[in-house]
Subunit: 371 residues, 2 copies
């Protein structure tokens, strides 16, 4: 642990061995099922992380912001799918990306947006609502054909359909996730078939979320799977059996700075600014507070969680609230906090401190934020 | 609104007229009560904002990170109080700040930390727990004198006591906040008296939070008040009558990108990455979801809130859930979202788009993040 003692806290740690294993497991799984795997870089937001996963070669990615597209585009990535519909105020930037040689794909789910993008030299996928959780047209919605028509005649090319079964995060069993994966697949395949029957091209059928990608049993008709969280995993994913806590590749290093003995609290210097305000496990079977506490080697301390967080203070306590069950954690003790939500926690940091298989720091990988 | 239409969304807006008024109101109030006002810069994290408030001249500030101290220190600020206890791994940086000519103040609440800072050329305040919400020694704790003794003999100077009644955020009435302010004052003054009786110096008696600073009626014995959130205010503060929604100086500009008509949803491009995951109003009388929705001029749209948020999507709906009560918000409509928690929302952004009194953009003020 000498290497960790050289860091100032809070710091974001990345276990490279777990990262590699997470990538290998899912990419082999999806390859065996047939489709391509398009990595969502919104979780890592780091060239170094994505290069590592792709073996150094640019590969198809998806992004949640044009800033991600621009940064990866400047570094050789050419097939970039922005999975958040673009407000009209972003179209000039999108067109500039396309003009720079990037094959940019965007989503629309309404005629207004379709008309606004129709003049840009980009590929357009129509978003399908497979689970009722957010955006998209239901696969049987008559407006699917209207949107396809609104795209015609300009520089944009209708490229197919996409859907994201984000509701899979709320499934309460593996069987539930398997059913959601089939619902996601069927919705996208059906919508693509409707477009083709109406005479429109729909070569791409893009689906995905980390839970459905992990448990899908059949991806017939799907051309690509999108996922991002799986590279790091987190407690929300562990809470629905998509991973185990031992697969979680990122953690926040914190130092004990004080105690309230009567309450059974150890105070640390990792508050919500370092952990994020995400409370994604609050409605799961096991509420992990603001994160699960591990020792400096990454081994979970039984039932120790971050029960509350202020901006730069975390409050660590036993899940039971029993002061007698707080282990001895002297001032200066280093702890690692596993995050509820990898995307949210990583977004609070400017870099990853990368640990090799022996717990030594082998690199610092920069990440970016903003739009 | 032509100026706002020139922005890409999401963007963080700062109403400079409200900022100025918020500063004037509280600084005049505290001056009338006697103590100094030490601005907490952890909310704004922006030289431009703080310079504006202090009329361009460096003044005493408090910080939550050494990065804040370093950045303000490089720009002429000399009296800097770091209100988060420093883990031993940060002491070398703190000593370097002191060596650069900054009068650095830090907090401790235990003998271990007191010993670790005793050798550094810094001022030390002992943290007092006035409300049971986080760190600090109870004013009557015998260890108060032990901590003072542990500081003696080195380069560090015991400078007094500090407390922060963060529990005031959970008060349910103005009378409750007034009582909390008196509790905060009395705890700090009593602890300082105990130190003086034991022969230790305690020239500084530092208290504060935005709610208690707003409603304190007597600050006898207090030498300075610390507050930060009041410069921007937020929905949590409005929910406990510390401000009104019309005082809130920051908002997130978002664009409508789609709808789910059957659910009464308008989807925007401001998700939790732009709003933060903070749900501080969830336990208040009125739950504001992920934020209160205003039109582009900043006027609240009755009972319209962000009911849910994904990374880059916000879901806007009527508080009742009634689809018929969603107003007409065509794709492309600009909205402003008032934040639950100013510190958390501002932290998601790299700059403020500053609006003058007529709603025109007069500047972009950079902010920073990290540790």
């Amino acid at each position: 642990m000498n290497d960790l003692a050289s860091l100032e806290t809070p710091a974001l740690l990345l276990d490279r061995t777990r990262l590699d294993a997470n990538w290998k497991r899912l990419s082999e799984r999806i390859a065996a099922l047939g489709p391509g795997l398009r990595l969502h870089v919104k979780t890592a937001k780091s060239l170094d992380v994505v290069r590592r996963l792709h073996g150094g070669q640019p590969a198809p990615i998806c992004v949640s912001t044009l800033k991600e597209a621009e940064i990866f585009g400047r570094h050789g990535y050419r097939d970039i799918f922005c999975t958040v519909a673009l407000a009209p105020n972003k179209l000039a930037r999108a067109a500039a990306l396309a003009a720079s040689g990037i094959r940019l794909k965007v989503v629309v789910d309404n005629v207004d947006l379709a008309r606004s993008v129709a003049g840009a030299p980009i590929d357009v996928l129509i978003e399908i609502d497979s689970d009722g959780h957010r955006a998209g047209l239901k696969p049987d919605d008559p407006r699917l054909i209207e949107v396809a028509r609104a795209l015609a005649g300009g520089s944009a090319a209708l490229a197919g359909v996409m859907t994201h079964a984000g509701a899979s995060y709320n499934c309460e069993s593996v069987d539930g996730i398997r059913a959601m994966a089939e619902q996601e697949r069927a919705a996208a395949v059906h919508a693509a078939a409707r477009l083709r029957e109406a005479g429109f091209p729909a070569p791409l059928v893009s689906v995905g979320s980390t839970p459905t990608a992990t448990y899908a049993q059949d991806l017939s008709g799907v051309t690509e799977v999108r996922a991002g969280v799986f590279v790091f995993f987190d407690l929300v994913m562990a809470g629905i059996d998509v991973c185990s806590a031992d697969d979680i590749a990122i953690s926040v290093l914190a130092t004990v700075i004080g105690h309230q003995e009567d309450k059974g609290w150890a105070l640390t210097d990792a508050g919500w600014m370092a952990l994020s305000r995400d409370r994604g496990t609050a409605k799961q079977r096991v509420d992990q507070g603001y994160g699960l506490v591990c020792d400096a080697s990454g081994k979970p301390l039984p039932d120790l969680i971050v029960v509350d967080a202020n901006q730069e203070h975390g409050i660590v306590a036993h899940r039971s609230g029993d002061p007698a069950r707080l282990p001895d954690l002297p001032v200066g003790t280093l702890l690692r906090i596993l995050p509820n939500h990898a995307c949210a926690t990583a977004a609070q940091h400017e870099r990853y401190q990368v640990l090799d298989g022996t717990g030594r720091i082998e690199a610092a990988w920069e990440r970016f934020s903003g739009w």
